[in-house]
C-alpha cells in the first residue's frame, strides 16, 4: 500500500522511461496506444487539440506508479486553506459564495475528514448572511436570491447537518421563492429576469425535495420540459434544441431521477450518449462529443451512469452495470491531482475548489454501485478499485451529490416538522 507522500511523479525521468524509478511495471499495457484518437489523416482544430491533450495525458500515465494514491492530506490542506480565505483573484466567484462553501465542505465530507463544530457554526453564519427575506439564498450578502446559490447553500447546510443548520432555512418563504420562478412551460428561471434552463429546474427540484416542499404544483410539467431537452444524440441539453452537454444533462437527468420520471426519457439513448463521453485513451469524460476531457465530468457523467444503473437494475430485476470505472479512476488519480493538493481539469491546469469537489464526487460514484431499498439508496463497493484501499471515499448520492446519510438526515428533520 502506498502512503500519501509516495505518490510522486518521477519528474527526472523525462517521460521516456516506461517504468517507475524502482522498475515497477507499467500502469497501462502498451496496447493502450490503440485507444488513441484516430484523425483519419484529416486533421482539424478539434483533432489537433485532442492529440495535444492525449500527449499530456500519455506523459502523466508514463510517469505514474502502478498503484496511484489519492493524496488525502494534501487535498485536505488545500481545502482548509480555502476555508480560511481566498486571494483577490477569486473575485470572479464573489456572486457564488455558497458554492465555494458547498464545494469545500462536500470535498472534506467525501474524504471523511471530520468538519469541526466551529467550522459548522461558521458555515451556518456565512450562509445565513446570504439568505434573503424572499426565502432564497444569494451569491453573497446583500445580493439577489438566485436558484443556483440556493441549491449550493441548502446542500452545504445538509452537509453541516446540525439542528442550527436545518432551522436556519425559512421553508415557507423558500417555497414562495421557488414558485415565483416557475414558468408556464414547466421550467424555472434562475432569478427574476434571469435565464431558464434544466440547471434551474434541477436546483429547484433538489432544494424542494430536500426541504420536503415538493408539491404537485411545483412539479407540474417539469417532466414534459425535460423530455423536450433530450437531443437527437440521446444526451440532454439546457433548453430544448441546444446541444447536449454533460453538466446540463446531469441536471436534467437528476431532476427526473428525483421525481421518479426517468422512464419519460429514452434511457437507452441517454445511456449510450453518456458512456460514449468517456475518452478511450484518457479514461476521463468529455462534456460533449469532440470536446476535451475534463475532470469535472467525472461526476456529471459518472452520476448519470450511476442513476441509470440503479434505475435500469430495479426495472429489469437484474444488475445492470454500465460504468467503465477503472479508466476513470486512473485518469483522476494520475492526471487530476495537483502536486500541492486540490484537484483539477486536466494536466497543466491549476487546481480549484470546483474541480476538487467534482473530481472527488466522480471518484465516489465510480467506486460504488447504488441500489434502492425501502429506507433509501444504499451503496456497495464496485470492486476492482484502482490504487490502495485508502483511495476509497464515501459514497455520494448520484442525484443530490451529498453523502447518503446527509440526504436522509435532512429529509427526516423536515418530515418531523
Amino acid at each position: 500500500m502506498w502512503s500519501d507522500d509516495e505518490y510522486t511523479t518521477a519528474s527526472d525521468s523525462d517521460g521516456a522511461a516506461a517504468a517507475g524509478p524502482d522498475g515497477a511495471v507499467l500502469l497501462l499495457p502498451e496496447e493502450h496506444e490503440n485507444a488513441a484518437f484516430n484523425d483519419d489523416g484529416f486533421p482539424t482544430a478539434t483533432s489537433e487539440t485532442q492529440l495535444e491533450v492525449e500527449d499530456s495525458v500519455r506523459h502523466m500515465l508514463h510517469l505514474a506508479r502502478p498503484h496511484p494514491s489519492l493524496m488525502r492530506r494534501s487535498h485536505v490542506s488545500f481545502i482548509e486553506s480555502g476555508l480560511r480565505g481566498l486571494s483577490r483573484w477569486w473575485v470572479s466567484l464573489d456572486a457564488s459564495r455558497p458554492w465555494l462553501v458547498m464545494w469545500m465542505l462536500h470535498s472534506l465530507d467525501l474524504l471523511g475528514h471530520e468538519i469541526s463544530d466551529t467550522i459548522k457554526s461558521r458555515a451556518v453564519s456565512t450562509l445565513s448572511h446570504c439568505q434573503c427575506e424572499t426565502g432564497g439564498f444569494a451569491g453573497g450578502p446583500g445580493q439577489l436570491a438566485h436558484l443556483a446559490t440556493t441549491f449550493a447553500a441548502v446542500n452545504a447546510l445538509a452537509i453541516v447537518g446540525t439542528r442550527e443548520a436545518f432551522e436556519s432555512i425559512d421553508r415557507p418563504a423558500m417555497y414562495e421563492f421557488i414558485m415565483s420562478l416557475k414558468q408556464p412551460d414547466g421550467s424555472f428561471v434562475m432569478h427574476e429576469d434571469g435565464e431558464a434552463d434544466s440547471r434551474a429546474v434541477y436546483c429547484a427540484i433538489n432544494t424542494a425535495y430536500l426541504l420536503n416542499i415538493l408539491t404537485p404544483e411545483l412539479v407540474d410539467r417539469v417532466g414534459e420540459y425535460i423530455v423536450r431537452c433530450q437531443s437527437y444524440d440521446g444526451g440532454l441539453s439546457g433548453v430544448p434544441g441546444t446541444e447536449a452537454h454533460g453538466g446540463l444533462a446531469f441536471c436534467a437527468a437528476a431532476a427526473m431521477y428525483i421525481l421518479g420520471k426517468m422512464d419519460m426519457l429514452d434511457t437507452d439513448a441517454l445511456a449510450s450518449w453518456a458512456v460514449n463521453r468517456q475518452m478511450a485513451f484518457e479514461g476521463g469524460f468529455q462534456g460533449r462529443p469532440n470536446k476535451l476531457v475534463d475532470g469535472c465530468y467525472s461526476f456529471w457523467h459518472g452520476a448519470i451512469i450511476s442513476m441509470l444503473e440503479e434505475h435500469l437494475s430495479a426495472k429489469k430485476g437484474r444488475r445492470v452495470l454500465l460504468f467503465n470505472h477503472k479508466p476513470l479512476q486512473t485518469y483522476i488519480l494520475t492526471c487530476c491531482q495537483g502536486l500541492r493538493g486540490g484537484l483539477l481539469d486536466k494536466p497543466d491546469k491549476s487546481p480549484d475548489y470546483y474541480h476538487t469537489c467534482y473530481c472527488l464526487s466522480g471518484l465516489s460514484v465510480s467506486q460504488h454501485v447504488y441500489s434502492r431499498t425501502p429506507s433509501g439508496l444504499v451503496a456497495t463497493l464496485r470492486g476492482d478499485m484502482i490504487g490502495p484501499d485508502t483511495n476509497l471515499v464515501h459514497p455520494t448520492h448520484p442525484a443530490h451529490n451529498l453523502r447518503l446519510e446527509r440526504v436522509v438526515a435532512m429529509r427526516t428533520f423536515y418530515r418531523a416538522m
Binding site: 483577490r88 448572511h129 446583500g142 437531443s231
Partner: protein
C-alpha cells in the same frame, strides 16, 4: 478608476455584512470593495441614474458573473430609457473579455429583443463563435435569434462554412439538426435524402467522427417518428373513409 468616487459624496457606503469569521472570504481589491459598498447603498435607496450605470459597469467588468449588478443595470436602463445601442456596445465589450459568462447573454437578449436588428445580432454571435466555435451560450443565443427572426435558410450556409473548417464541430452539427427539424417548411422525403447524403459525404472525409454519425442516426430516428406519425394519420384517414 472607471467610476469617479467624487460623484458619490452624497452616498453613505454600506459595507458587506459577512457576519463573524465567514468561511472562504475573498480578499477584495480596494476598488472593488468601494464599488460594492456604494452598490449596496444603491440597492437600498433604489437610485436609478447615469452614475449607477457607471458603477454597475465597473462591477461587471471586475466580475461578469455578478448577476445582481446585471439585473440592477437592466432595471436602471429601463427606468431611464437610456440608449439601448450603448447597452449593446457594453455587452460586446464584456463578451469579448469573458464570452463564457452566463449573465451577459440573457442581458443581451433583453436589450436586443426590443431593437429588431437581426443582422446585427447574427454578426455579433458570429464574431464570438469565430473566437470559439463551440461556445455553448453563444449557440443558445444564436438559436433564439434564428427562430425569432426566421433566419433558417441563411443558417445552413453558415453551418456549412463551419463544418468545412472543422468537420468535428459538434455544435455546428447540432445547429444543423435544430434548423432542419424546426424550420417551418415541411420535412419532406427529399429533405431526408439530402440530409443523409450530407452526413455520409462528411463521414467519408473522417470516418471516425462521432458527430457526423450521431447526426445520421438522429435523422434516421427523426424520420422514423415522422413516418410513424404519417402512417397513423393514413390509418385514421382510411378508417374514417371506411366508416
Amino acid at each position: 478608476m472607471p467610476f469617479s468616487a467624487s460623484d458619490w459624496k452624497d452616498v453613505v457606503p454600506v459595507p458587506q455584512d459577512d457576519g463573524v469569521q465567514p468561511l472562504a472570504p475573498i480578499a477584495y481589491a480596494q476598488e472593488y470593495t468601494e464599488a460594492m459598498d456604494l452598490f449596496r447603498a444603491v440597492l437600498l435607496s433604489g437610485e436609478k441614474s447615469a452614475r449607477v450605470l457607471e458603477l454597475t459597469a465597473f462591477i461587471i467588468e471586475a466580475n461578469s458573473s455578478h448577476y445582481t449588478a446585471w439585473k440592477y443595470r437592466l432595471d436602471t436602463v429601463r427606468a431611464l430609457g437610456s440608449p439601448l445601442e450603448d447597452e449593446l456596445k457594453f455587452v460586446e465589450e464584456v463578451a469579448f473579455e469573458t464570452p463564457k459568462s452566463y449573465q451577459l447573454w440573457p442581458y443581451r437578449q433583453a436589450i436586443s429583443d426590443q431593437l429588431n436588428q437581426p443582422q446585427r445580432e447574427i454578426d455579433f454571435v458570429g464574431r464570438i463563435l469565430a473566437l470559439d466555435s463551440k461556445n455553448y451560450h453563444a449557440w443558445a443565443y444564436r438559436q433564439h435569434i434564428v427562430s425569432k427572426y426566421d433566419l433558417w435558410d441563411s443558417e445552413l450556409e453558415y453551418i456549412d462554412g463551419l463544418l468545412r473548417d472543422d468537420v468535428r464541430n459538434n455544435s455546428a452539427w447540432n445547429q444543423r439538426f435544430f434548423v432542419v427539424s424546426r424550420r417551418p417548411a415541411e420535412f419532406t422525403a427529399a429533405d431526408l435524402d439530402a440530409e443523409v447524403a450530407y452526413a455520409l459525404s462528411h463521414i467519408q472525409k473522417a470516418p471516425h467522427n462521432e458527430s457526423a454519425w450521431n447526426y445520421l442516426r438522429g435523422q434516421a430516428s427523426h424520420c422514423a417518428v415522422l413516418l410513424a406519425a404519417r402512417a397513423h394519420l393514413l390509418t385514421v384517414a382510411a378508417e374514417s373513409c371506411l366508416s
